[in-house]
Subunit: 132 residues, 2 copies
DNA sequence: CTACTTGCAAAAAATTTGCTGCTAT
DNA sequence: ATAGCAGCAAATTTTTTGCAAGTAG
């Protein structure tokens, strides 16, 4: 459970700001490395704790994609992702969620559905070129 | 790259068979625990190595969902998943992939799209009950 | 035969946590 | 003031890897 007075600390604000600037869907350690020059005493533990709490407030999005590490997205608007199988780059995909899809899902399960994630998997233009 | 003579060893076959029996979308360590009674000397390293190689042959599916650990699915037919936010249970969802969705995605990106994953997130009937 | 695979153990990578002191409200 | 947070470091969890011996094709 999140504590009721959710404090916007300097660390939290910076983590949020920096991730929002990044378009790369960073992992926890990538976030940490970006923060360090601006706040040298910030700890990796703090980064992990906030990457856990911020998505619960809706200020940040945790994305569930392939790979060992979790990734984060400062863009909280509804959108999907494409991941490159070769280099793991993740791009945004702003396409409309299909309403039928959601309806079908709701009919097919007993779960109360809250949201959904769509991840397309493919090969990015750069890796495509290198394959030739 | 996968070696050309892909050997179906006893370990590989057992890993595959057992996962196909399980309907729970197990993690690596869950697979390991199921195997141990049947093959006590199998090592966790072997399990991890095979959970990496088997999906590349198409005999097994690696699913990219929320949570810390990777999960695997012995059912390689096309289907989606629903995950419970409370207890992390993952159910199958056999609904038709929407063709428009794929078309839209292909139009919206430079990636060559190979496949896609859809994960619905919600609350399972059991956790729903416990909430009351 | 012989390249691929395994078991074992150690290492690396990723994440979580206990504690003490600082700070946003 | 005071509950919540941060920093630090240690612990835990998850995954990967080197190597010598075993085995499928």
């Amino acid at each position: 459970m999140l504590p009721s007075p959710f404090r916007m600390t300097k660390q939290r604000q910076l983590i949020l700001d920096e991730i929002k600037k990044m378009k790369t869907h960073p992992t926890a350690d990538e976030v940490y490395e970006v923060l360090r020059p601006k706040m040298p005493r910030i700890s990796l533990g703090t980064v992990y704790r906030n990457l856990e709490t911020l998505p619960k407030t809706g200020l940040l999005r945790k994305i569930d994609v392939g790979g060992t590490q979790k990734r984060f997205d400062g863009d909280i608007s509804d959108h999907y992702h494409v991941r490159c199988t070769q280099c793991s780059r993740i791009d945004d995909l702003f396409i409309d969620a299909d309403k039928k899809l959601l309806k079908k899902a709701e009919n097919a399960t007993d779960f109360d559905i809250l949201r959904h994630n769509v991840e397309f998997v493919g090969i990015c233009p750069k890796c495509k070129k290198e394959e030739e």
